[in-house]
């Protein structure tokens, strides 16, 4: 029973559930955004290693982020957010609240577990303060003056969820769970149904559009896009970025541009769902993923997931002690809505500020209930039809 209970939600070992005989230790990332310098080496390394095609050269008007979002041809995405003092104060406030909630201590807090990168990190964290000569203090200990401006930089990636909606809903079996507990698409099996795209709670996986064998035209998402949203689309659906992406098809501006063979040589896997493989090929050869290897600041750390989680916990504890209450972890707790993520993050503000969902829940967790409701509905349909035939003819 224990096995079945955690197949759709809750903590579990995904590789073992996928019936790997001798699974490797689960691999994952810890992306420490507090020491990210926004160099985008990870983006580039990922594209180079995996042969991911170009997907639009544009100025997006989003600070230094001209990549946009994760997608079929963007498997690492570095987010840039510029914040002023009041936003920094808000981030601290929300961080303090989080601490005061007495968040779960799955592991006892263990300061001696301070691991790689932790020691030198603080200097880098204060770096944004240097941008503004006036704010000499930088975002220092808790009572020091806050800087006038700070940059948040965060390298986002597929979360390799414990309960991966993309994998569970894939009808062809193209997505599979590797022995490392990661989630990978088989390019030669996927038929481009697009179900995984809609199912991912983090908006990671996407069907590649562009020019190859058959032409699907510009990326578009059904009937709503052409008229730029249709409804009283609030919060700037599409609009916000339309300014920057003006060079490309305005309608699909919320999306990465399609890949072009003319500018990039070969474009493969058009019409196929694509995302980070956690460098399955490199892992198989005992190598570090390209992005982690290229990261010059060790912001992207790679290793056994247990170790990553421990590192993350040690790092956030250290930052709290140094007076950065805004620091918080994302994806480390395996009781969350996706059973914990393989890619964990340390963030300096609420997740939605970085474009991450604040409370994702794997959609398949409700699947038994959905099928039950559909069953009742089916019986109702049968009942309605039967009722139409009872009684007198006509």
């Amino acid at each position: 029973m224990g096995f079945w209970r955690n197949q759709l939600s809750g903590p579990t070992d995904p590789a073992a559930d996928a019936a790997w005989d001798r699974p490797e230790p689960r691999k994952g990332f810890f992306t420490d955004t507090s020491i990210c310098i926004g160099c985008k080496a990870c983006e580039v390394a990922c594209k180079e290693w995996n042969g991911v095609p170009e997907d639009g050269l544009d100025l997006l008007n989003q600070s230094y982020d001209n990549t946009g979002a994760l997608g079929a041809s963007t498997w690492r995405h570095v987010a840039f957010v510029e914040q002023t003092t009041d936003r920094i104060e808000q981030a601290r406030e929300s961080g303090r609240k989080l601490v005061s909630l007495g968040m779960p201590s799955v592991r006892s807090r263990d300061d001696t577990a301070l691991a790689g990168g932790g020691g030198t990190a603080t200097a880098t964290l204060t770096a944004p303060g240097d941008l503004v000569p006036g704010a000499a203090g930088g975002p220092g200990p808790i009572d020091a003056a806050l800087p006038a401006v700070r940059w948040l930089m965060a390298s986002d990636v597929c979360k390799h969820c414990t309960h991966a909606a993309c994998l569970d809903v894939c009808p062809t079996g193209a997505l599979f769970r590797t022995e490392f507990g990661t989630v990978v698409v088989q390019d030669d099996v996927c038929n481009g149904c697009g179900y995984c795209v809609a199912a991912c709670p983090f908006g990671v996986i996407e069907r590649r559009s562009g020019h190859e064998g058959h032409e699907k035209g510009a990326q578009s998402h059904g009937i709503s896009i052409k008229g730029s949203g249709g409804s009283g689309g609030s919060g700037g659906s599409g609009g916000s970025e339309g300014t920057g992406a003006a060079g490309h098809q305005g309608g699909g501006s919320h999306q990465n541009a399609p890949s072009h063979a003319e500018t990039n040589g070969e474009v493969k896997n058009v019409g196929i769902a694509q995302k980070c493989t956690l460098c399955y090929d490199r892992l198989g050869a005992g190598q570090t993923p390209a992005c982690a290897q290229a990261c010059p600041t060790t912001s992207i750390k790679f290793g056994d997931l247990d170790e990553m989680r421990a590192t993350a916990r040690a790092r956030v504890a250290q930052l709290h002690e140094l007076g950065y209450p805004e620091a918080r972890l994302y994806g480390v707790d395996e009781n969350d809505g996706v059973g914990g993520t393989g890619s964990t993050f340390l963030l300096l503000d609420e997740p939605e500020v970085y474009g991450l969902p604040p409370d994702p829940r794997v959609t398949t967790a409700d699947l038994p209930d959905m099928f039950r409701k559909a069953g009742y509905a089916g019986l109702t349909m049968l009942g309605m039809a039967a009722a139409a035939f009872v009684g007198r003819r006509r």
């Binding site: 936003r87 779960p104 079996g173 481009g192 149904c193 949203g229 409370d359 509905a377 309605m384 003819r393």
Partner: protein, 365 residues
């Protein structure tokens, strides 16, 4: 809620706004400062969507309608056979086969790699409503196809066997006669799953409005399927045999209106907004009017061939509007980050206020 075109150009920190509609203070919350549910604020990364909309085009919305009309028609056809209504039986079977065939084609066309459509049959996966649905559609198509082939083929064979006196042809004709029953039962058996699974298909996604409507959407969809099928029957079947279709239209119209109302209520003000506003709102309003008009017409004027056909057309149009409206609303809810962030924030803060702090993806340690 973009108020002016320059909003898009603002640096991110100014994009913050307080969310002041939607969550009325119920007065039930404790006043303790630390336990209060704060106002839900809505942040986003440059207004970009968090979840991705399904990369599905109109074909998928059309399939929702076609699959529905096929399922409902199969039931009417089976009922027609049971009650000895040959025209209804024939129309139902044709509707079922045509709907399933066109729907299947629409689905294949929407694939990123249509040449790999058969990869759907590579595996049976219960966690994938699309896999389950592919098998349902296949089974349904086989049974309805067989039923229709028997209905159309048998008279031909019988004529030939009479003319030639061939025993083999007569035997085949008898076999077909025997198979007719099972084929009808099979098509009726797979009809309700075909109509209902499409709701699960939409609901089993991260698309906020689709997912959160999973409790009521199957009821909306099966009612809409019945409506469409009764509409088709009202158009194609002579008045002397359209009694069941008229009754079905009436029952299904009520069921759909009730289920839809309930669905909107359950979604709450934020998540039901895409169903009420914009293009989806217009489609769904039109659907309601057509449903009521069509059903009243079917009940009151269904005895007349012309008015029956008009009512039937209205009912089919209503079903089209329902499907495209729900489809469109989902797309809107995925593209606007508000519909992802606000409900998630709200439920997170609610859980935290209730003292549940061990299931958040964001942790302090």
């Amino acid at each position: 809620m973009t108020t002016n075109p320059f909003d898009a150009d603002r640096p991110p920190e100014r994009r913050r706004r307080r969310h002041d509609d939607g969550s009325p203070d119920t007065g039930k919350r404790r006043r303790d400062e630390s336990l209060m549910v704060p106002d839900v604020r809505f942040d986003s990364y440059y207004g970009r969507h968090i979840v991705k909309p399904a990369p599905w085009e109109k074909e998928v919305a059309a399939y929702l309608f076609l699959g529905g009309i096929a399922a409902g028609s199969a039931l009417l056809g089976a009922g027609g056979r049971a009650r000895g209504l040959p025209a209804l039986q024939r129309a139902g079977r044709i509707g079922a086969v045509a709907g399933a065939a066109l729907g299947g084609a629409a689905l294949a066309k929407d694939l990123g790699k249509p040449s790999r459509a058969l990869n759907m049959m590579r595996t049976v996966k219960l966690t994938s409503p699309m896999s389950v649905g592919s098998w349902i559609l296949t089974a349904f198509g086989s049974f309805t196809g067989a039923a229709l082939a028997i209905e159309l083929g048998r008279p031909m064979l019988e004529r030939r066997s009479r003319a030639s006196g061939s025993g083999a042809v007569a035997l085949l004709s008898t076999a077909m006669k025997l198979a007719d029953g099972p084929a009808t039962v099979g098509s009726a058996f797979f009809a309700p799953p075909l109509a209902a699974y499409t709701a699960v298909l939409l609901a089993d996604t991260a698309t906020p409005t689709w997912h959160e409507s999973y409790r009521e959407l199957p009821f909306v969809f099966v009612s809409s399927a019945n409506l469409a099928a009764s509409g088709l029957a009202l158009v194609t079947v002579p008045a002397r045999e359209n009694g069941p279709a008229r009754k079905l239209a009436a029952v299904s119209a009520i069921a759909e209106l009730v289920a839809f109302e309930r669905m909107q209520d359950q979604l709450g003000p934020t998540l039901s907004e895409p169903l009420r506003t914009g293009k989806a709102g217009r489609l769904l309003k039109a659907s309601r009017a057509l449903t009521i008009g069509g059903a009243l017409g079917a009940v009151a004027l269904g005895g007349n061939r012309v008015t029956a056909a008009l009512s039937g057309a209205a009912l089919m149009a209503a079903s089209v509007c329902t499907r495209f409206g729900v489809f469109e609303a989902g797309m809107v809810s995925a593209i606007d980050p508000k519909y992802t962030v606000e409900p998630q924030r709200e439920r997170l803060e609610k859980r935290r206020a209730a003292g549940v702090v061990d299931d958040s993806i964001t942790t302090a340690r």
